[in-house]
C-alpha cells in the first residue's frame, strides 16, 4: 500500500470530521474492550502471567542474534528452508522466487501485517498468479482495494451493506444477512484453497529451540493455507522469535485474552517443518523468511527497542483516544494506534513520519493496557525528541521547568508578552538554539485579561 504517513495531520483532521467513522470506531473499540475486560476479570494470576509474557519477549530481544541462528539451525534440521531478507524488496524477491519455482498459479494468504508491510501481493500478482487474502476481513478489504484498519478486525470500517454491494460488484455473489455473506465467502475461498499451489502466512512466533512456527487464528484460513497447498511460506519479522516452547506457551496464555478476550484462539498451529513421511496432507515444502526491514537498527536504542517486544494483540488501539477518534487509515500505513505510531516511526524514513508521535495525548491508557507493559508514552516522547533533532531541546526543558512553578511561569510569560504581545517575534530571536523549533510547534493561547483583573473590573462595574 502507498505510505501516506506524511499526511497524518490532514488525514487525521479529515477523519475527525467523519461522523460515520466515529460511530463505527466507538462500537468497535467498546466491543473489544468489553470482551477483553470480561476475560481478564476471570484470569487467575493475571499479573504473573503478564510478567512472564513480558519476560519471554524481553529475553528473546536480549538474545536476538543467537536465537535467530538457533531458530535457523533447528528449522533447517526439521526440513524447513530458511531465508533472510534485509528489506522489503529482498523479501518480495525471495517469495516471488519461491512462487515461480513452484509454478504457483493460485496463492492463498493468511492474515499477516508483515506481508502488507513488504507489499507482497502486487509482487506476486506480477508473476501472473492469482493472490487471495483468505481471512474474511482481509478478503473484504482486498476486494475493496483498501488497507486494513485494525490489527484484529481489518474490515471494521465496512458495514454489512458495504459488503453486500462489494460481493455483488466484484464477485457477482448475492447475499443479505451477515451469516449469508460469510457463507458466500466460505464457498468462494474454499475453491481457492483447494486449487492453491502455495500458502503464504505471517508468524505470530517462531521457537528457537525447536525451529517451529506458531500461527494463531480463529477462522481456519491459516490452517487451510498450510494444509492444502504444496508449498507454505511463512514470512516473519525477526523480533517474533522466542527462546523456548515454554515461552511460547506463556505468550499463548496471554495473547488471545488480550486480543479478543478468548482463553485461546480457535486454532493455534505449531508447524515444525514440512509434512512428515507417510502423512497425506500439509505442505510438502516449507519456507521461513526472516525479515529485518529496519528492526535490527532499533535494537541498539535502549528506549525505542521496547516496541519490538509487541506481539500485536491490538489492545492499545482500542483504548487510545486518538485511535478511537481517527481510526486506522489516518495513520497512513498498515500499523495504527499507539504501537502503530511507534512501529511506523521506527521502520519508515524519519522524513515520512515526523508528525506521527505528536498525534498522542500521552494519557498513558496504552501503557496501562498493554499486557507486556510496553511504555508507549515514554517511547513517544523519545521519538518526539528525535524528531526535534535529538538530544532534547534546552528551551523545551526550560519551559517544562517553568511550567512546574506557576508563579515563575506567569512572570516569565508576562515579561515575554510585555515585549511581544502575540509571541510571534520569539521564533525569530537570534542566539537561542532550539527556540524557533520550540515556538513553531506550539500555538500560544490568545492573550487574555487575567482573571483577577476581570473580577476587579466586574466588581467596580457593579459598584458604580
Amino acid at each position: 500500500m502507498e505510505v501516506t504517513t506524511r499526511h497524518f495531520r490532514q488525514s487525521s483532521a479529515r477523519a475527525c470530521r467523519d461522523v460515520n467513522l466515529r460511530a463505527v470506531l466507538d462500537h468497535t473499540t467498546r466491543y473489544f474492550q468489553s470482551k477483553r475486560q470480561a476475560s481478564l476479570e476471570t484470569f487467575e494470576g493475571r499479573d504473573a502471567h503478564f510478567a512472564r509474557a513480558r519476560a519471554a519477549r524481553l529475553n528473546a530481544l536480549s538474545r536476538l542474534p543467537e536465537l535467530l541462528e538457533q531458530l535457523e539451525a533447528n528449522a533447517i534440521a526439521a526440513g524447513t528452508i530458511v531465508h533472510w531478507a534485509a528489506d522489503a524488496a529482498e523479501a518480495r524477491a525471495i517469495i516471488v522466487g519461491i512462487a515461480k519455482a513452484a509454478s504457483a498459479r493460485v496463492i492463498v494468504k493468511g492474515k499477516s501485517m508483515v506481508t502488507e508491510e513488504v507489499a507482497l501481493n502486487p509482487a506476486l500478482e506480477e508473476t501472473g498468479a492469482e493472490v487471495w487474502e483468505t481471512d474474511l476481513g482481509e478478503f473484504i478489504v482486498q476486494l475493496a482495494g483498501e488497507p486494513p484498519s485494525h490489527i484484529i478486525a481489518p474490515a471494521v470500517h465496512k458495514s454489512r451493506q458495504d459488503v453486500v454491494e462489494l460481493f455483488a460488484e466484484k464477485l457477482n455473489l448475492h447475499g443479505e444477512s451477515i451469516p449469508e455473506l460469510t457463507l458466500l465467502a466460505r464457498r468462494a475461498l474454499r475453491e481457492k484453497f483447494l486449487s492453491a499451489d502455495m500458502g503464504v502466512t505471517g508468524a505470530n512466533m517462531a521457537v528457537a529451540e525447536t525451529g517451529s512456527v506458531i500461527l494463531v487464528e480463529n477462522e481456519g484460513n491459516i490452517r487451510m493455507s498450510t494444509t492444502c497447498p504444496r508449498v507454505h511460506v511463512a514470512l516473519m519479522s525477526l523480533e517474533k522469535v522466542v527462546a523456548t516452547m515454554e515461552d511460547a506457551a506463556d505468550l499463548l496464555r496471554v495473547l488471545p485474552r488480550s486480543a479478543t478476550g478468548q482463553r485461546m484462539s480457535s486454532y493455534v498451529s505449531v508447524l515444525t517443518g514440512p509434512r512428515g513421511e507417510g502423512e497425506t496432507d500439509g505442505a510438502r515444502e516449507m519456507h521461513l523468511v526472516i525479515l529485518d526491514n529496519g528492526r535490527s537498527e532499533v535494537l541498539a536504542d535502549p528506549v525505542l527497542r521496547e516496541a519490538l517486544a509487541c506481539f500485536r494483540c491490538g489492545a492499545c488501539l482500542n483504548v487510545c483516544p486518538v485511535y478511537q477518534t481517527i481510526g486506522g487509515h489516518a495513520y497512513g500505513w498498515i500499523y495504527s494506534g499507539p504501537i502503530g505510531t511507534l512501529l511506523s516511526s521506527l521502520l519508515l524514513p524519519r522524513s515520512e513520519t515526523r508528525d506521527l508521535p505528536f498525534g498522542c495525548t500521552l494519557c498513558g491508557a496504552c501503557k496501562r493496557t498493554c499486557p507486556l507493559s510496553i511504555d508507549h508514552p515514554k517511547l513517544m516522547l523519545a521519538l518526539r525528541e528525535r524528531t526535534a533533532g535529538g538530544g532534547g531541546n534546552p528551551i523545551g526543558a526550560a519551559h517544562a521547568l517553568l511550567a512546574r512553578h506557576p508563579l515563575a511561569y506567569r512572570m516569565a510569560v508576562g515579561a515575554a508578552r510585555a515585549v511581544d504581545p502575540r509571541l510571534d517575534l520569539l521564533a525569530r530571536l537570534p542566539g537561542l538554539p532550539g527556540l524557533s523549533r520550540f515556538v513553531d510547534s506550539r500555538r500560544p493561547p490568545e492573550l487574555k485579561t487575567p482573571f483577577t483583573a476581570r473580577r476587579r473590573k466586574k466588581t467596580q462595574k457593579e459598584r458604580s
Binding site: R52, A185, F193, G220
Partner: protein, 224 residues
Amino acid sequence: MSGAATESRAAILATLRKGVAAAPFAVPAPPARPASVSVTDSVSGDAWERLAAVLAPLEVRLRMAGTRAEAAKHVADIARERHASTYTRWDTALDGLGLDEALSSLTRLAPGCCQELAQADLGLALAHGALIESGSMVLVAAPGQHRAASLLPPASVILVPRRALLPDVSYLPALLVRHSVNGKLPACLNLITGPSSTADIELVLVRGVHGPGVLDLVGLDWDD
C-alpha cells in the same frame, strides 16, 4: 542460499550483535507460573465438568461415554444430528472403537488430497491433549492422523480419552516431546478451541467461516 541472501544474513546478525553489545538488556526474572488447574483435579471427575463448562460458551457439547459402545453410539447420534452422509476419520488412533460399524450407513472417505476430503460431512479425530483451562483440544498430525479431518468437513468430532486431560497450555512443550518420533518433533500440532469463527462483518459472530461450524466432543471416560 544465494550470495545476496548470505550477505543479508551476515549483515542482519552483525547489526543485531552490535545493538545488543551497545546497550545490553536487563531482563527481570519472571515470577513463577501460577497453577490453573491442579494436576490431580485433571484426572478426577471434576475435570470433565470444568472442561464442559469452559466449552459451553463456545457452543461445544461434551458427551460422556463410559464404554466403547457408548462412544460409538454418541458418534452415530452426532452424525444423524448433522445430517452427515460421508465421513473421514483418523485410522489406528480410532480403531477399536467400532466407529465404522456405528456409521455403516455413511460413506467413509479415505485420507488423501484436500479436494476429495472437502466432500466429507463429518470428520473424526482423537485428542492427544485436552487443556481444561482453555478448553483446547491438542491434535498431533502423523501418518493416519490427517490434518484435514478436523478442518475440511463442516462438522467435527473429537474423541477425548481420559488420559488426555491436562491442566493448561503450559503442557504444550511436554506434549510435543511426547509425540516426537526418533527425536523429530511432529510437523504439525494443532490446538483447537471451539469451532471456526469470525466477527469480521460488523463484529457479528458467525461460526464456520472456513473450518468446521460445529464441534462435538466425546469424552472416553475409562482408563486405557
